[in-house]
Amino acid sequence: MIDNQSVYLAISIILFVIGAAGAICRRNAIVVFMCIEIMLAGVSIAFVTFSRANQSLDGIFMVLFVMAVAAAEAAVGLAIFVLMYRKHGSIDLDKFNLMKW
């Protein structure tokens, strides 16, 4: 018998791994960023689950902060993507390889 907490935890891990895999494999910068957001969603589910299990509010506060920070990151990220597009005409990550070795 699997208890509810384990199910939620499993979902959060799956989401996190999906996000990480996507962040590695996709080439479009916006998609990669969205994948990172999926990772954060996984994290949020874990926090809420544990908050419920531990009967404490800390986890829920954390989720609020995660969402706020994600919003800020999205703002900065999108600004950078716009800049990339202006300069390069593309947001394909493989094309950004000026600095290496």
């Binding site: 990480a20 990172i36 689950t49 954390m62 902060f65």
Partner: protein, 487 residues
């Protein structure tokens, strides 16, 4: 479900940080309302703010206490980190004011206020005593620096630098957060002190997968910020592309702040697990310094070279982390400050190497600089000597404290590897000095005359390096007194 107590508003505990934040906001406001002429005063305004923060930092230095319901630890450790951050910010602003000539984009309010916000975040990382607080401070710092890295909007390298730092930073934050989540699941609290007492009280719960996974993932998150192998990959690219003044700022400030958080979390919250994380950190320290030094040798761009060198320095610092005694933690603080002076100084010289719109970052550009620009040559030599760990510079004393403590604690091999790595590093540090003094220039370079603020920054940094190298006892005593943490 839970009673909610409104914590006391202890302004004294956060006065320096408060001043930093208020200055940042003021700079933004002034930028909006001031005309073209007013913009030149923004740097001076931020400077005043940082100095005020430094002064209040010393004035408000009081007893150990826990403020804001355990969110902040007002202790010596936080004090010393804030001291480093304020000095770093001070030097960076001084350099930035003169850097406006090379890079006109930064002559705007956002630059200075972002820099101050980042310093604000860094400083809170040093005294944060709750994982929520660490996360918020870390993101405040990081988001500001993502923007700063890409500040040269027309420069492809700068954009690429911002992109890489942003994507990888967000990616690593995810790991860090997941680590927090797992630890929260295991212990039911995010308060670092409570976590420590929880793990000490329940040794049977220590080795459950939740805790182990949490520690592993948090190592990833912090390791990314301090550029620990194998999470260091972003460092060279980001450092190379970012404007020189920003590179200096993040190479020192971010490293100090992240190290502070790492030390506090691992020594307070995970003290019971020390035997477990020591081994893996031992290996990480060895690989970090070796990889950093090894790759630095074959670099041709000085910013990239110094980026690899900063990875190596993270390795040396990790030796102190592995040793873990209170003296070793003092040594880490001492080293961080000495490294900050030397590194920011070096990047100040690099940022001075340029005129309108163009920077001279290739190693070959440094040929003959020593005699053509004696001030730049001399100070650069001092900073490089310090980083290489040659007396009488701060870096020597820092390495001495760390290595001798490692030997005392029985980590003889680690100390030996550290020394071997220092020898390897001599090759590329001295290479720059050789180029500056013993080679003729390959191409004509024209450098704008160093502004007064740059001279001030260089002198201050050089003074710091030599003071800590020749009369280390003052700073060392301060570091010894500061290494005591609120536990």
């Amino acid at each position: 479900m839970l009673e909610f107590v409104v914590p006391a508003l202890n302004l004294k505990a956060i006065l320096p940080q408060l001043i930093l934040a208020l200055t940042a906001l003021t700079v933004l406001l002034v930028d909006v309302f001031a005309g073209k002429d007013g913009k030149t005063s923004l740097g001076g305004l931020s400077l005043i703010g940082v100095v005020a923060a430094l002064v209040t930092l010393f004035l408000s230095r009081g007893d150990f206490e826990s403020a804001y319901a355990g969110m902040l630890a007002v202790d010596g450790f936080g004090f010393f980190i804030t001291l480093i951050i304020c000095l770093v910010a001070l030097l960076s602003i001084l350099v930035a004011i003169s850097y406006e000539k090379v890079c006109p984009e930064i002559r705007s309010g956002e630059f200075y206020s972002l820099l101050l916000f980042a310093a604000f975040g860094m400083s809170f990382m040093g005294s944060a005593s709750n994982l929520i607080m660490i996360f918020v401070a870390l993101e405040t710092m990081s988001i500001s620096i993502y923007v700063l890295a890409g500040f040269k909007r027309d420069n492809l390298k700068s954009i690429e630098s911002a992109l890489k730092y942003f994507l990888l930073g967000a990616f690593a934050s995810g790991f860090l957060l997941f680590g927090f989540a797992l630890i929260y699941g295991a212990a039911g609290t995010l308060d670092i002190v409570k976590l420590g007492s929880f793990f000490t009280a329940h040794p049977d719960l220590l080795h459950q997968p939740l805790v182990m996974g949490g520690v592993a993932l948090m190592t990833v998150g912090f390791g990314f910020k301090i550029a620990m192998f194998p999470f260091h990959m972003w460092t060279p690219d980001v450092y190379e592309g970012a404007p020189s003044v920003v590179t200096g700022f993040m190479a020192t400030g971010v490293k100090a702040a992240a190290f502070a958080a790492l030390v506090r979390v691992f020594f307070v919250a995970f003290a019971a697990l020390q035997t477990d994380w020591t081994t893996i950190m031992w290996i990480a320290a060895l690989l970090t310094m070796t990889v950093g030094n090894l790759i630095a040798i074959s670099q041709t761009n000085i910013k990239r070279m110094l980026a690899y060198s900063s990875i190596a320095h993270a390795g040396y610092l990790l030796i102190g982390f592995v040793v873990g005694s209170e003296i070793a933690r003092s040594a880490i603080l001492f080293y961080l400050l000495g490294y900050a002076f030397a590194n920011i100084g070096a990047f100040a010289v690099i940022s001075a190497m340029g005129s309108k719109g163009e920077e001279y970052n290739e190693l070959s550009d440094f040929q003959g600089v020593g005699f053509k620009y004696p001030m730049l040559g001399l100070t650069m030599s001092i900073f490089l000597f310090s980083m290489a760990g040659i007396p009488p510079a701060a870096g020597f004393m820092g390495k001495f404290f760390i290595f001798s403590e490692a030997i005392k604690a029985g980590y003889v091999w680690l100390a030996i590897f550290g020394v071997i790595n220092s020898v390897i590093s001599l090759y590329y540090y001295l290479g720059v000095i050789v180029r500056m003094y013993f080679k003729d220039p390959e191409r004509e370079i024209s450098i704008a005359a160093p502004a007064g603020t740059l001279v001030a920054a260089l002198s201050l940094a050089a003074f710091g390096v030599l003071q800590m190298g020749i009369f280390p006892s003052y700073v060392w005593d301060l570091a010894r007194a500061s290494a005591k943490m609120l536990m």
